[in-house]
Every structure is written in structure tokens, then in C-alpha cells.
């Protein structure tokens, strides 16, 4: 391997890579740790924003200095994920609300005054998973 990148580019890439991996780890830990489904949907957002963008930018920096020209193909991944992850998440939330109502769980309609236990235990009546 003939690494010809200047040391500050290596340091920047290392910082971005570690930041992105830690963000992905924290997000996945949230998926495992949070109690109700409606709290769990929000955890992968950390992976799809900070994790994806920092690793993408690390790839851009490293490959640009390696090839000697600007290499921004990887930004396509970040843009694509930023466009598609909210779509999936909104679909999933709708499906979860629909299925919870089919099971007979009381889920407040939009516009209802928020109940007290929304802040601590999620929507009223949704049983904590684990």
C-alpha cells in the first residue's frame, strides 16, 4: 500500500470514521434499549444521519486526496439515504398506529390534548415491549 495522503487528511478521516461508527453504535443500542415501539422508531435516525454522513465525508476526503481529484460519488449515498429513510419511517409509524388501533389500543388522534403519561410511557395503553 502506497499511502500518499498528508497526515492531516488521515487524522480528519480517522475522526470522521470514529464519530460515524460511534453514532451507529449509539443508534443501534437505542433500538435495543428503548421500551415502546414508538420510542424505538426514532433511534435509527442517529445511524441514518450522523453515521451515514460522517462515513460518507470520510470516504470523500480520503479518496479525493488519494486520486488527486475531487471524488464526490459517495455523497450520493448520503443524499439517497436522506431522501428515503423518512419515507420508510413514516410508513412504519402509520402501519404501527394502524395495527395498534386494530388491536384495540387507544391512540390519541392528532389535535387531542396530550396526556400526562405521554412523556414517560409513550402513547397510553401501548404495552412496553421489554
Amino acid at each position: 500500500m502506497s499511502g500518499t495522503t498528508p497526515p492531516w487528511v488521515d487524522a480528519l478521516t480517522a475522526l470522521l470514521v470514529v464519530l460515524g461508527a460511534l453514532a451507529a453504535l449509539i443508534g443501534s443500542f437505542g433500538v435495543l434499549r428503548l421500551r415502546t415501539f414508538f420510542q424505538r422508531v426514532h433511534a435509527p435516525t442517529l445511524v441514518t444521519t450522523l453515521g451515514v454522513w460522517s462515513l460518507t465525508l470520510a470516504t470523500v476526503a480520503q479518496l479525493s486526496f488519494e486520486h488527486g481529484q475531487l471524488y464526490v460519488h459517495s455523497l450520493l449515498i448520503g443524499v439517497f439515504i436522506a431522501l428515503t429513510a423518512p419515507v420508510t419511517t413514516i410508513f412504519l409509524m402509520r402501519a404501527a398506529v394502524f395495527r395498534a388501533r386494530m388491536r384495540g389500543v387507544e391512540i390519541p388522534m392528532p389535535g387531542d390534548p396530550p396526556s400526562v403519561d405521554d412523556a414517560t410511557r409513550g402513547p397510553a395503553g401501548v404495552d412496553p415491549g421489554h
Binding site: D10, V18, Q62, S74, I77, I81, T84, L92, H130
Partner: protein, 92 residues
């Protein structure tokens, strides 16, 4: 490649492997189907990040296309599963 960068990449691979294990655990013990789909979402995101990290380790720019394909097919699969949970059919 400087030793700092190689150690950082190894640390990142370890973190991402642990993240994949955590989402896989939620996928196995998620009480309902929605939880499993969320965990699958998280799992393929982590897989894509692993592929990007491997591209940095092996200094090859062709790993990026694999990561893009993983993102694309993961999005299609998750959306199809969410649609199925919502309607009982993927394409009506």
C-alpha cells in the same frame, strides 16, 4: 496509511459489528412485526456503513457501488414490508 487511521478503521469496524449485533438482537426478540422491520432497517444501514469502512481499509473506490446497492435494496425491502403491514398487500 498512517497507524492512527488504521487503528481508527479497526475500531470503527468493531463498533459497527457491535451495532449490527444489537440490531439483530432486537430483530430476534422484537415483540411485533413493526419492531422487526425497524431493526432490519437499522441492520442494513449498519451493513452499508461496514461496506464503506471496508472500502476505506482496502483503498478501493468500487466498494461505494456495493454500499449504494445495499442502501437501495434495503429501502425497497423496508418500504415493501411497511406497506404490507399497513394494508396486507404490497401492490394492490
Amino acid at each position: 496509511m498512517s497507524p492512527l487511521l488504521s487503528w481508527a478503521l479497526a475500531f470503527a469496524l468493531g463498533c459497527l459489528a457491535l451495532a449490527m449485533a444489537l440490531s439483530l438482537a432486537r430483530m430476534i426478540l422484537g415483540p411485533r412485526a413493526e419492531d422487526r422491520v425497524v431493526a432490519f432497517d437499522c441492520l442494513y444501514m449498519n451493513t452499508m456503513l461496514v461496506v464503506l469502512t471496508l472500502g476505506l481499509i482496502y483503498r478501493s473506490s468500487s466498494y461505494f457501488e456495493a454500499a449504494l446497492l445495499i442502501a437501495l435494496f434495503g429501502f425497497v425491502g423496508s418500504t415493501a414490508m411497511a406497506k404490507f403491514l399497513l394494508r396486507g398487500e404490497v401492490i394492490e
